[in-house]
Amino acid sequence: MNTLTAKFRTYWPLIKATQTGLLLSTGIAGYMSAHTAPDMLVLLGMAASLFLSISGSTVLNMWWDRDIDMKMRRTQKRPTSSGAVSPEETLWLGLVLSLLGVGWAIAIDALYGLVVFAGLFFDVVVYSMWLKRRTCWGILWGGISGAMPILAGRVLAVGQIEIIGLLLAAAVLFWIPTHTLTFSIKFFDDYKAAGVPTFPSTYGLDVTRAVIALSSIIAAASIGTAGVMIGVQAGILRLMVVLSSGLLLLSFATVFRPSERVNFSLFKYASLYMLASMILLSI
């Protein structure tokens, strides 16, 4: 029992619990956004299969990027960098979690399983293995994979890929640069030391800040439009407008009044914004 607990404690940081939890919440919101009486068994199965798939792809990414993580101060203490978990063990863990997650997803519904698989494929193969070390535009594919859980949830609820699902996916896709680009500004030196191309190192800080502002506008517009099309109550729509205004305000502040503090607050607020929006879409 003690060995199991110790293993669990070692493995837990490999799944990046906060990020996985946030992506899982988008998947649940996608499902709940259909506003039909939820089938609790399906909902639980969806949550479990998504959790396993997202965790699996995160572990596989960590396995693939362990050499980069060793060079970056921010990630040097990860179990794969510190040697707490061997590369082989990490790979096996990632594969098992991914296979369990995707397999369970396909067993629930084929189309849902396909979207979940697409998310894993885009994240691990296209983003991490192929593009991350070659071009800063790789984050676009990271964004697309991040948008898959919400699309998957919606697909499972309505049985097809439709415009609302795509709008919700677009909202997450364009929210991700707000999150990751502010991150790449904050840890500019770390990424440079590891030789990972980022928007700030390729196009400069001004262009990066402009991209953050633009993507925030598109994310807020997408989530607002999706909210209207879903038919959320007027009060909830008002609250979404308020929260979106905060996001836009901070995005513009990063362009016109750039500072470390504004950058950090946008990074934090963007996560809160996404979590709050997901809850509001589910009500």
């Binding site: 909830i236 008002r238 609250l239 308020v242 905060g246 503090r261 607050s265 934090k268 607020y269 809160l272």
Partner: protein, 201 residues
């Protein structure tokens, strides 16, 4: 000054109350009051979240004076629009002109006491409106007694605005640490009074 966990909990409670007010508390009102109250409580919500994220350092920003003006002005406009039909247009004019005056006097370097006078007039009129209007209406029996709680909220927002304005002007009435110590509780109490006042109207 470092923000404590209790401060963050109080600010989160303030934000949740403001969110509730925006979502449910103002349903069924006209377009202008809904817009005005959404702006007031929305600014309160976003400001609370930013304070949780950045701590009290956010109060160093020059935008604080403008933001702390938007809240009472919007609330006062909503109340006047709902209850003083004859004053709608002039009060809307005062709100727009007052806000523009505060933004101009705080954005461009203007010598002398004009920026302070502008702030004092705008805050004063809005504060008196929020304090007196609900108090009088409930005293006259036009609204239920609970509506007077908005007046209490008005008094508290006046106190908070006064403390922050003097702090920003470099002449704090009470020490800066004391202001930061009481601010989260003051904001929660004020928001609770507003939300309860609207609920029991």
């Amino acid at each position: 000054m470092k923000m404590t966990s209790l401060d963050r909990v109080l600010l989160l409670a303030t934000g949740l109350l403001a969110a509730w007010q925006v979502t449910i508390g103002i349903d069924g009102l006209g377009a202008v009051p809904i817009t005005a109250y959404t702006i007031a409580f929305g600014v309160l919500l976003v400001a609370g979240l930013l304070m949780i994220i950045l701590g009290f350092d956010v109060l160093e920003s020059p935008i604080v004076v403008i933001v702390s003006t938007i809240i009472p002005l919007s609330l006062a406009l909503g109340l006047v629009w709902q209850h003083l039909e004859g004053w709608r247009a002039p009060y809307l004019g005062f709100v727009l002109f007052g806000l523009a005056a505060v933004i101009v006097t705080r954005t461009f370097p203007i010598p002398g006491k004009l920026p302070t006078i502008v702030i004092a007039i705008v805050h004063g009129v809005a504060g008196i409106t929020i304090f007196l209007l609900p108090t009088i209406l409930s005293a006259q029996g036009i609204t239920r007694p609970g509506f007077a709680l908005i007046g209490l909220g008005g008094a508290l927002i006046g106190l908070g605005g006064l403390l922050l304005s003097f702090l920003k002007a470099g002449k704090p009435i009470v020490p800066r640490e004391t202001i930061f110590k009481i601010l989260p509780a003051l904001l929660l109490l004020m928001t609770t009074a507003f939300v309860a006042g609207f609920f029991f109207k």
